[in-house]
């Protein structure tokens, strides 16, 4: 498909249904977006020691991300250079060499061929530290504040430029750690839905849906709010459900912000109780004191004042800095998506702060979530409807006349605008129109 074919799928106010439902277009997305853009691979804390490695997805391809003896990080495709066998099968581990189970070719932590059995059968210098057939390296790997990204394209914007205005989301998460670093901890949650990946990314900053999609949960939380149930973990979950019960006029006041790169964030809407952004309970005060010791009062006020809900780094991650969460949206097929969610511990903070982070994701991102389970159901209904060619165009025109340009291609909009979906589609068009990287 050339640029003109892509352009025909988009109008300023609408998107062709093929963008969600056409398998050939999905395959092209894998090539032009997920094999080229900067894709989140892992956090440096997962591969802290030399030899540590994890498996990660770089779009459709599985890669090994490893820490070498000199502390550097490399990412290689998880296929043996000999016969193409999937090399590593455990999701994480520590090793000196990656050895293939089939014919025992071994590769170093940087992917270079280390040794082969019966080397006399090969030309001299085939292996043994000489330049030989090593693992296919991911073209570019870079870390930003401990978050490791990979790009399958040798050329293109560097990671900092790519992250643009939303590097601030990663900065803010790390700045919230009195010890100056975060550690990925607490395992992972995985949700799946039979729908296109973009449905999740658009919905994460759609502020009209909560009162309709989450109405059932809001209603039962309202019934419970007067009981003695607002203690501990039940209290946090109930507060999170209640927060979804704003009226449309309230949602309208939550700011939406889009960047030229396709990244989007929405301001926070957690105002009450244990989920408020600054509060007076003893735990938060202990935490705040530790943070002031590191940064000083002025900077701490600035850090804590950054109250955003979802920060979406295009194409496929959602960051919540306040609760130290990251969600990775993995496209599996045109109509199948897996969302992996994880927490980060704030180093130097009271350990109980991590409980808030865990409880946030348990509430928001489990397949059993009282919030997300209804979103997943709606995504599946969207996908079923979009498979029907009865109508071509999917409307995203709400508040299109109310965009406020704020410089550098960035745009602000009121809470109920469909600006986020339009901004994501603009980035989609830019990457999809480029026939070469």
């Amino acid at each position: 498909m050339n640029a003109a074919d892509i352009a025909r799928l988009l109008r300023p106010d609408a998107v062709h249904r093929d963008v969600y439902a056409d398998a050939a277009l999905f395959a092209l997305e894998q090539e032009r977006i997920f094999r080229r853009a900067w894709i989140y691979l892992c956090h440096e804390s997962e591969i802290a020691r030399p030899g540590d490695h994890v498996l990660a997805q770089l779009g459709p391809d599985e890669v090994i991300v490893a820490r070498a003896a000199d502390g550097s990080i490399a990412a290689m495709h998880n296929r043996c250079a000999h016969r193409g066998t999937r090399l590593m099968v455990a999701p994480r581990g520590n090793t000196r060499l990656f050895t293939c189970a089939y014919h025992a070719w071994s590769f170093g932590l940087d992917g270079a061929l280390d040794s082969v059995p019966a080397p006399e059968g090969y030309a001299a210098g085939f292996a043994g530290g000489k330049p030989g057939p090593g693992l296919a390296r991911v073209a570019r790997v870079a870390s930003y504040r401990g978050f490791v990204f990979g790009s399958g394209a040798a050329a293109g914007p560097d990671l900092c430029v790519f992250l643009g205005g939303l590097a601030s989301a990663l900065d803010n998460m790390v700045d919230r750690a009195p010890g100056g670093a975060v550690t990925q901890a607490g395992g992972r949650l995985r949700m799946e839905f039979r729908g296109n990946w973009k449905l999740f990314m658009e919905n994460a900053v759609d502020l009209v849906h909560p009162q309709y999609v989450h109405g059932g949960s809001v209603a039962v939380a309202r019934e419970a709010r007067d009981a003695a149930q607002l203690e501990g973990q039940a209290g946090q979950t109930t507060q999170m459900l209640l927060a979804n019960g704003l009226r449309l006029s309230d949602w309208e006041t939550i700011g939406l912000h889009a960047f030229a790169e396709g990244h989007v964030f929405m301001d926070g809407f957690y105002r009450d109780g244990v989920i408020a952004s600054e509060r007076a309970d003893p735990l938060f005060e202990r935490y705040r004191e530790a943070l002031v010791e590191t940064h000083g009062e002025t900077k701490v006020r600035e850090i804590l004042a950054m109250d955003r809900f979802n920060n979406l780094i295009w194409p496929n991650i959602s960051v919540n800095s306040r609760f130290q969460n990251l969600r990775v949206v993995q496209p599996v097929a045109v109509d199948r998506t897996v969302v992996t969610s994880m927490c980060f511990r704030l180093e130097g903070a009271p350990p109980e702060m991590f409980d808030l982070s865990l409880r946030f994701l348990n509430t928001a991102s489990s397949p059993a979530s009282l919030v997300a389970s209804d979103d997943l159901e709606i995504f599946e209904r969207c996908q079923r409807g979009l498979a029907d060619p009865a109508a071509d165009w999917v409307d995203m025109s709400r508040a299109i006349g109310r965009d406020v340009p704020v410089g550098g291609g960035a745009i602000d909009a009121p809470g109920t605008s469909e600006l986020p979906a339009r901004a994501q589609m603009r980035a989609w068009r830019t990457w999809m129109e480029a026939e070469s990287a």
Binding site: G187, M191, V220, A372, L376
Partner: protein
């Protein structure tokens, strides 16, 4: 006994007749879930009862880790009410389940508490598709004036660490 305190092989042999009692309790629990009587199911939990479905195999305790479900009674009550609320989209149409329990064994933990271990197969019919879940369950049951109550229930799904589509009815 808290959920993380259980040691392998803990407890002593049950007195005659007690396993029948525990088994009947678990069967009644399964019947309530299959009948959509979710609030009555929550009533089976003790005031301080905990329902836990770990997200990774072999986890000893829910603290410090993400979970598929980790809920105390107030949240279970909220979940139960939600399942019958007309705006709960995942229940449109209502999900049907069969909870099958087998391989039941028990031990006496002392202090009026019992451990019941079982295997669970839950067949679920949702929106035109059937799913089958297999799990190993542990119930810590406590004798109270009102009868047996669940102090905690741990359900380890065989594929707990797989990506899952939305869950509606508890296991």
């Amino acid at each position: 006994m808290n959920i993380g305190d259980l040691k392998a092989g803990a407890g002593s042999a049950l007195a005659p007749g007690v396993l029948d009692e525990l088994r009947e309790f678990a069967f009644e629990e399964a019947r309530l879930l299959d009948a959509g009587r979710f609030e009555a199911w929550v009533d089976l939990f003790a005031e301080d009862g905990v329902y836990w479905v770990p997200a990774e195999p072999g986890q000893p305790a829910p603290e410090g880790t993400l979970s598929l479900f980790h809920e105390t009674r107030p949240l279970l009550r909220l979940r139960a009410r939600r399942l019958t609320h007309p705006q709960t989209h995942i229940q449109a149409p209502p999900v049907r389940t069969h909870h099958h329990l087998s391989n039941l064994s028990g031990s006496d933990l002392g202090g009026g508490q019992y451990l019941l271990q079982s295997m669970l197969l839950m067949a679920e019919w949702r929106n035109g598709e059937q799913r089958l879940f297999s799990a190993a369950c542990e119930h810590c049951l406590r004798r109270t004036l009102a009868g047996l109550r669940i102090a905690w229930k741990r359900v380890e799904l065989l594929n707990c660490d797989a990506p899952h589509r939305a869950f509606a009815i508890p296991f």
